[in-house]
């Protein structure tokens, strides 16, 4: 691997071990609100990715200036200002994208994961590490959103990435596929309770994989010990 151990650990934490949803169980509000379809999940994920990376970087730059007694109000102020800034700029300069993503941008403020990363990581780490952490956490969040959105979309309407061309442009129309033709639809999965149910399945799946991995690791250690004896 070309990455140093620190960076690899940050990436592993963000993408899997300490993933915002799977590991920290944060950000459930925006998560359940927008994952009706995989496309919406992707949109929300990308918007969050940008804002969390920027907020991590900003807070890391200013970390020596921020006294611990008033760190929370300053974090909230910076994150809110950043989100508003992205909202305004996007409305003006990327209006087509804003019409699709605009709904999600404001929701990012309710994402406690941003505050969580600012508090737990960015306020204690150098800028480069903080940016990398934001990027990886955002990417991990995006992956979960897309996975949950895809699972809900397939089970509720039988399609995958419907309207992706609205978000990503005409050249991405190939993403829009119908998985189950003539599907009657299963409304529950499109509604918030379906989100909770599907999320539970995903978390169980993640735990099972983790269990398997630990088992393999333990077996290997036992095997190594046996060999050295």
């Amino acid at each position: 691997m070309f990455l140093s151990t620190t960076y690899r650990k940050i990436a592993g934490d963000g993408l899997w071990n300490n993933n915002i949803v799977f590991g920290q169980n944060l950000a459930l509000c925006p998560l359940l609100a927008v994952t009706g379809t995989a496309t919406n999940g992707l949109g929300m994920g990308l918007a969050t990715l940008v804002v969390i990376t920027a907020s991590n970087g900003l807070i890391s730059v200013a970390r020596h200036l921020i006294p611990s007694e008033i760190r929370i109000p300053i974090f909230v102020l910076l994150i809110a200002a950043l989100v508003t800034l992205v909202d305004i700029l996007m409305n003006a300069w990327a209006h087509e994208l804003y019409k699709v993503l605009g709904l999600f941008i404001a929701l990012i403020v309710t994402n406690c994961a941003l505050l969580g990363r600012a508090e737990a990581f960015a306020s204690k780490q150098p800028v480069k590490e903080a940016l990398w952490d934001g990027l990886m956490m955002g990417l991990g969040f995006t992956l979960v959103l897309v996975a949950l959105g895809a699972a809900r979309e397939i089970s509720s309407t039988g399609t995958l990435f419907a309207n992706a061309s609205l978000l990503l442009g005409e050249s991405f129309r190939f993403l829009e596929v119908t998985i189950i033709p003539n599907y009657k639809g299963f409304l529950l999965m499109a509604l918030p309770p379906g989100g909770f149910i599907m999320l539970a399945f995903l978390i169980v799946g993640k735990r099972l994989i983790d269990q398997k991995l630990t088992q393999i690791k333990v077996q290997r250690v036992v095997l190594n010990a046996a060999v050295t004896e």
Binding site: G36, A62, H64, L65, I66, P67, S68, E69, I70, P73, I74, L77, L78, A80, A81, T84, L85, I88, L89, N91, A92, W93, H95, K99, S156, T157, G185, L187, A190, L191
Partner: protein
């Protein structure tokens, strides 16, 4: 203005001096000493607040015009959906009339009506209205009506109806909303302005009756609003 070398040298030295001071002040050790002090904390919080407000203020001012332009483009786009381009040669955003609409239950006390004119003569009108009583909230719509009171087109601008059931009112999801083209208060009786389940002309959706029912009723009220002000609106 021309500066002599001595002044430039002096200014440079001064800038260097301030820069060095700032670097010393921003040194983590110095900041660690300052952080527990109340004055410093107050200053930092005020500083960040000032920074945030200046940044947001400047951005807002510099993008205000662009955003208004974008919203106008959006509106023009919706207007073009319900009023065919061939019907007018004027700027519909400029030719408007406001009519009182408090009695029509379309969620507005006054409604801005955009007038489509060809050679100075009103050919059609267009306005936004709302069904305030959709299944899960307001359904915002826009409608174009020709000068004789027949519908040219209706579109849903935004709604919160159930995805997969009630969202068939969107033209992107189903052709249902196109059934209104050509309908008017003259060619359908009041009892026909309803969904089929209620004895009317318009289809309901499988599993969702309230959304189309309330949409039909709101469109009917919109037509009544037009009729009440018809002479005034199509005057020129």
């Amino acid at each position: 203005m021309k500066l002599d070398p001595a002044t430039i040298g002096h200014l440079k030295a001064q800038a260097r001096h301030y820069f060095e001071w700032l670097k010393r002040w921003l040194d983590p050790a110095n900041l660690a000493r300052l952080r527990p002090k109340l004055e410093f904390q107050t200053g930092v919080l005020a500083g960040f607040a000032l920074l945030a407000s200046v940044l947001l203020g400047v951005t807002n001012c510099s993008t205000e015009g662009t955003i208004r332009q974008r919203l106008n483009d959006d509106l023009l786009h919706s207007l073009a959906e319900v009023v065919p381009n061939g019907l007018h040669d004027n700027d519909m955003l400029q030719d408007t009339l406001t009519v009182p609409s408090a009695d029509y239950n379309i969620a507005a006390n006054e409604t801005l009506v955009y007038l489509a004119k060809k050679s100075g003569k009103v050919t059609a009108v267009c306005f936004k209205f709302t069904a305030p009583d959709g299944y899960s909230g307001a359904i915002n719509m826009i409608m174009g009506i020709d000068r004789d009171g027949a519908i040219l087109g209706v579109r849903v601008l935004s709604h919160k109806e159930t995805p997969g059931l009630g969202d068939k009112i969107e033209v992107a999801k189903s052709n249902w909303i196109l059934n209104f083209v050509g309908r008017s208060l003259d060619n359908l009786t009041p009892s026909q302005w309803a969904v089929k389940k209620d004895g009317g002309e318009f289809d309901q959706f499988a599993g969702a009756t309230i959304t189309p029912r309330k949409s039909v009723q709101a469109i009917y009220r919109g037509l009544q609003l037009f009729k009440a002000h018809q002479t005034e609106l199509i005057k020129p």
